[in-house]
Symmetry: C2
Subunit: 343 residues, 2 copies
DNA sequence: TTGTAGGCGTTATCAG
DNA sequence: CTGATAACGCCTACAA
């Protein structure tokens, strides 16, 4: 293992003191150094192949230029674009990120928060927050800059970036009604996640506004945002014996699972039942029937969260910062929704 | 920002010297300490909420317990499972990983290698290696432990983990022949990537063995492993005017693109043309027609690479280590391949 | 403008 | 078994 070139090496090489070298190599302190000397030092640094040791600098300055990113599960296709969004703003600024998967397990989540703290991350982007998490709240209280993404934790004033769930649900409901649907079921997401909760609340509100009776029995609540729960919930709705011509699902995976199960039961989508999703995850255009859904800015959400965190990291006065950012959403009509069948 | 508890705080609290505290808290050096004292120290550590500062430790020991993971693009669904595989072995061992996306750009790749070196990663898992990369080779020469995954770099003795490309291509070709296909085209991957190259070579070899004439004009080479190149290549094959009843593609995305374009041209898959992929990426079972492909152990490959790297990190004698690991693959027959149509 | 010195939190090496 | 001391590489008052 070849030894790394350090400031000391350059100092020896150029005959000046380490501190001078340090200054010459830092663009902001360089101006306090004779141009000539500075150039000589830079040349030597280049020649020797000097690379600053961020670990040492981090120990000294208490800034590692590293941020932690917590997500439920990287194999969930919704997250990679978000990560690229985060990276796109953080990387140019010299930050690296440590990504951890919580698998939606609270215990794991708490443990990982500590892992990140131990590693001295400058801040955390938390895209896997449950509505209440003591460790996260504690970390925030201890002064760790934290931003949540897609989710929000209830107590505490942790800034967050979310999508306009309300508007999304509204747009979708309007779309279904324009197609003539009047009996509309909802497959709600897990209620311990803010998205699940917000979308359900939005559904109830929107239904109320339409003056359609919102039959509570036409709401099935999933325990996870996945296909099997979508299947289970639609089956539960079917079992209720109540008639419905459309199912508005709290996310795409629930919708996919629902469509599959409907198909197994001999019900065609969208001819017999229209089904809609939420998120517009990648690959949806390859899957038949192509799912009507609400598009959210995945990459943009990552960027927004990262920018917010960077502000938190730099500004001493964390007071006057947008504590909540709501990103716009957009209805994407594809093939899984169609005219309501005649009664 | 609440100040962190350090060894010094515990020392003050318990009235012993920092070095004693350090020893008492390290499971391996603890045995050299009076049980009584050790317990007192541990209790104090617990009470004060001590968390070791890995940065400081890293500076001292030259081990950051961090590894770099380089991939082309996290939004490519093939990579998340690999990352989970890596994490599954690294995390329990106390390692964290810094993931970077090269986007297949050589310049970016080189830069990122340096980013990782600057951060003092203990080693690198490189799943985005081009067949030759000077920076990677140089890092390896400088003593940075590196393992490549899915790809291999040509010169240098960098250990690698790959899939059994040869066997996969063979199995697929046999499958197609059993279905009666005799005119089989190949959409090859980029030749600057080892997978592209190995799979093309395997195709040629396998064709030679079957004693079927391997018409070079029935081989189209993609510049990228993506859908649009699959579409372009199949169109090129069509344009040649040569008859073919099956297209063996170097990966799933090329196959998906090819099927789509065939469909646009009025050719049905598999009725008119059979198409096969390679990789068995996630979601394939949701996409119609369900693609026949070669399954590779994505999660397992990540694990294998991580284990290999850990060995490199621990064993002084890096000599007697498996320099190449070849993972088994498996034919998965679904719907995109069928009997050859009558001539 | 440049050098000096001290310290960030740990761990390794000596003594005692 | 425990304490003292130095060092890892860098940054930053403060002094010159």
């Amino acid at each position: 293992m070849k030894r790394r070139v350090t400031l000391k090496d350059i100092a020896r090489e150029t005959g000046v003191h380490v501190s001078t070298v340090s200054r010459a190599l830092d663009p902001v302190t360089r101006k306090a150094i004779t141009a000539e000397v500075a150039e000589k030092i830079q040349a030597a640094a280049e020649r020797l192949g000097y690379r600053p040791n961020r670990i040492a600098a981090g120990l000294r300055t208490n800034r590692t230029m590293t941020v932690g990113v917590m997500i439920p599960d990287i194999t969930n296709v919704i997250f990679p674009p978000i990560l690229r969004g985060i990276e796109s703003v953080l990387e140019p600024l010299g930050y690296a990120s440590i990504i951890v998967n919580t698998d939606g397990e609270k215990e794991r989540e708490s443990r990982l928060v500590n892992v990140l703290r131990d590693r001295g991350v400058d801040g955390i982007i938390h895209a896997a927050a449950t509505r209440d998490d003591p460790m996260v709240a504690r970390a925030a209280e201890d002064g760790m800059p934290i931003v949540t993404l897609n989710r929000r934790v209830e107590d505490g004033a942790i800034p967050f970036v979310i999508n306009d769930e309300q508007s999304g649900i509204c747009q979708m409901l309007r779309h279904l009604m324009e197609l003539g649907h009047r009996s509309i079921a909802h497959i709600a997401g897990p209620q311990d996640l803010s998205t699940g909760q917000l979308r359900l609340a939005a559904f109830r509100d929107a239904m109320a506004e339409t003056k359609l009776a919102c039959d509570e029995r036409l709401i099935a609540t999933a325990t996870h945002f996945d296909e099997s729960e979508g299947a289970r919930c639609v089956e539960q709705l079917l079992a209720s014996g109540l008639r419905f011509t459309a199912v508005l699902c709290a996310n795409d995976r629930l919708a996919l699972g629902a469509i599959e199960r409907l198909h197994e039961k001999g019900l065609n989508c969208p001819a017999d039942v229209s089904v809609s999703g939420f998120n517009d995850m990648p690959f949806l255009n390859l899957i038949r029937p192509r799912l009507t859904t609400i598009h959210i800015e995945q990459h943009g959400a990552g960027q927004a969260a990262a920018r917010l965190l960077v502000q938190l990291l730099n500004d001493a006065e964390t007071d006057r910062l947008p504590t909540e950012t709501v990103l716009p959403v957009r209805l994407v009509v594809r093939e899984s929704t169609g005219p309501a069948p005649a009664p």
